[in-house]
Symmetry: C2
């Protein structure tokens, strides 16, 4: 087993070039681990003539992705992104018995169930460490490192763009639009930022993490998402005064109280206690918190994107393939860590059903009885006030009121919000954000 | 491959009971992942009659460890600790072709090279995830998850007792002896705390981490250790004012500048920038920072000890064994992640050779010219002052001076210290602690 592992590379963009650079630079270190060289023999990209920051001299390089899939390689690395033709190419490679390594979270989140079945049928390995949290080996951690646990919760900052924007808003008091524009100037956000700031990218990743944590099929369709564009600088400031930071969280939770097995899958800006590690994860960093019944809380922090951090994950999968190639597929770690016949199918709870603590911000007229009217609404709905902050209004201005509630059903919280909204002295739509506390 | 994995357990103390409890409680979850049940069939402990918090009714339980090794099991779990008879039992089990899972960091740090060779010879798996950082799967992360990287540095808080004591000292202004006594009362420190507070336990773990990070043999003998008993509350306070926290760090570094390959292996209390995650890891938590050339900085945080956190790691290894048993040993991940013939033998640098920033604390008479004399010594030795803090003395008292130096050779720093010491107005031995800054 000392013949080189021959890699066919689909896509030679930022990450692809990173893979080629790291494979070249760490050639010796990787061979010391894999037991044999890992060599890109074929590659395809749409634009063959673009200048690239990597050495392609020993690679058969073309614009024909299909030819790479058909070439005499051991493993195909899919880095072209998007759904088609990526899906077709991956399925074709698997059907030919090739192992596949894939960084394409959208593809896996939406077509992973089909792809995993195809890999299983072919007895081929399918690695996707690079699809979530860049260089942090969170897939391997969940799938193998914490395999003894019943995982209760996975909570992460898994979209670096959103985290960068909220961090900048907090540091500089910038509005969302301003921070976004700057993130775009600096290359932290795409020209079309919707995938990132509306939570879709994080939802892709969360669907993958939840499937591995709970042993369930990928349910991207069922992830509730809410973007960060509704967060105002004022919310960040008030949250801070109440002891919180606002972070773009993705949350997967088992619901213990449900009569049948159910889980929550949601992505939204969230108030996190200031002293928690997730609150301290700033800029473009990613962090994932995993809570298991035996291990308790563990937290994993690192770069969630970037050419070489992502390449680190791609090549880790290639080294696994180099080690496992030729072994009876019965010895493979299943794609989701759970044996496919052992997958469960928990119901994904709707937001109406969830329970959470909430942050409410109201702009109210500076008249007597306001606080009484608002707290009466909460009391009638049996919602406790955990913290309250009223900012002294400037003369002739409205007052701002921020409330942290106890953990209550979301529908009930929204009832309270509607009632508050209908009070004559409540001036603007009431802002509502979720608050997350963590057990250790 | 659906027959149960039969486990023989050596040692049914805190961790052993945790293993039995978690295997029972998560029986279904573990079988969903491993593809077959994982069942303790045999166990041995010195005291068979001690009350235990786990169900032993289905286990053949005796006081005869050797009988467990000889029993018809697939894997032996060694949780008795110490060197002998643990070493003999582990080698015997491996020689019989049993897989072995082991949480015994002292045994691995001191006899790992011999044990890994024995496992290889027998084609048997040897898992030791539980030996370092409890439930944090740091061995798997380093060995597999970050395998694409040339690892430059591993820096960790890997002794919970020391971290707990320093955290208490910082929170309450307690002296070391006082914080230690309280930690003993609360069960965070042993009656004989030397292994923990003198850095020996951390050195065991560091030797293991370094071997996996760099692909070198275990060199516990070469780890330089310095305990935390020399840290005064005053140092914690001054460090804080200078923007640092004092943490019990274990450091493994490649030395880039050395003419030949060399590494540093050291355990000592260290000033860490207050904003770094390691500085924020308080109480009995563990945290490990890994820096690789591709991934950059990643950090892993969780419980470093405790029955079930350690059981989580033991059982993760058992699940690996359940998956891999019967596969050709060529497909196994090598014990250190590197193929044995690819291990390198870097020189371990002596403390005299290392370069670091330093914290110096001096008690000096409140007379003119003191600062000039001290800064002259530093200037003559070409040591820059990065930060300096002089506390206003109370009347008739001595002044306290704290200095953070630039990165310099340790021998040179100690020359400066000796020269300062010989100044007539320097009252007490000069305190010297190392300071660590981190690249991202």
């Amino acid at each position: 087993m000392t013949a080189p592992l021959r890699v066919g590379l689909l896509g030679v963009g930022t990450v692809g070039q990173g893979v080629l650079r790291v494979l070249a630079r760490n050639r010796q270190e990787i061979e010391r681990r894999a037991g044999r060289p890992v060599v890109v023999t074929h590659a395809a990209a749409r634009d063959a003539d673009k200048p690239r920051d990597c050495d392609l001299s020993a690679v058969r390089f073309s614009t024909d992705a299909q030819a790479v899939v058909e070439a005499d390689c051991d493993v195909v690395v899919e880095l072209i992104g998007g759904i088609e033709p990526a899906r077709r190419l991956v399925l074709d490679a698997l059907a030919r018995g090739r192992a596949v390594v894939c960084a394409n979270k959208a593809l896996i989140a939406q077509h992973g169930n089909e792809i995993f079945a195809a890999a299983r049928k072919a007895g081929a390995l399918f690695g996707f460490e690079a699809a979530v949290a860049g260089g942090i080996p969170i897939i391997k951690v969940l799938r193998e490192g914490l395999a003894a646990n019943r995982i209760d919760q996975v909570t992460g900052i898994i979209n670096g763009t959103s985290n960068y924007i909220l961090t900048q808003m907090a540091a500089r008091g910038q509005a969302f639009a301003e921070a976004l524009a700057e993130a775009q100037r600096l290359g932290y956000a795409e020209a079309d930022p919707r995938f990132d700031v509306e939570g879709i990218d994080a939802a892709h990743k969360l669907a993958i993490l939840a499937a591995i944590a709970f042993g369930m099929p990928l349910r991207f369709d069922a992830v509730a998402t809410e973007g960060i564009s509704g967060v105002a600088p004022q919310d960040i400031q008030l949250a801070r005064e109440l002891g919180y930071r606002i972070k773009p969280l993705a949350l997967a939770k088992r619901i213990a109280r449900a009569p049948e097995a159910a889980v929550e899958l949601r992505v939204h800006p969230t108030l996190v206690p200031a002293e928690h590690l997730l609150a301290k994860t700033d800029g473009a960093l990613n962090a994932v918190r995993v809570h298991g019944d035996a291990v308790g809380q563990t937290v994993y922090v690192g770069r969630g994107a970037g050419a070489e951090a992502t390449a680190s994950a791609v090549i880790a999968d290639l080294i696994d393939v180099a080690r496992w190639q030729g072994a009876d597929p019965r010895h493979h770690v299943p794609a989701l860590g759970f044996h496919p016949q052992a997958l469960q199918h928990p119901r994904v709870a709707s937001l109406d059903e969830i329970e959470s603590a909430y942050y409410l911000r109201l702009r109210v007229a500076d008249t007597p009885g306001v606080l009484r009217a608002i707290t009466s609404i909460l009391a009638e709905l049996e919602i406790s006030v955990e913290a309250i902050l009223q900012k002294e209004p400037r003369e002739h201005e409205d007052a701002t009121l921020a409330i942290i509630t106890s953990v209550v059903n979301e529908r009930r919280c929204d009832q309270a919000r509607s009632k508050m909204q209908s009070l004559p002295f409540v001036r603007e739509p009431v802002t509502r954000l979720r608050v997350e506390h963590f057990d250790v």
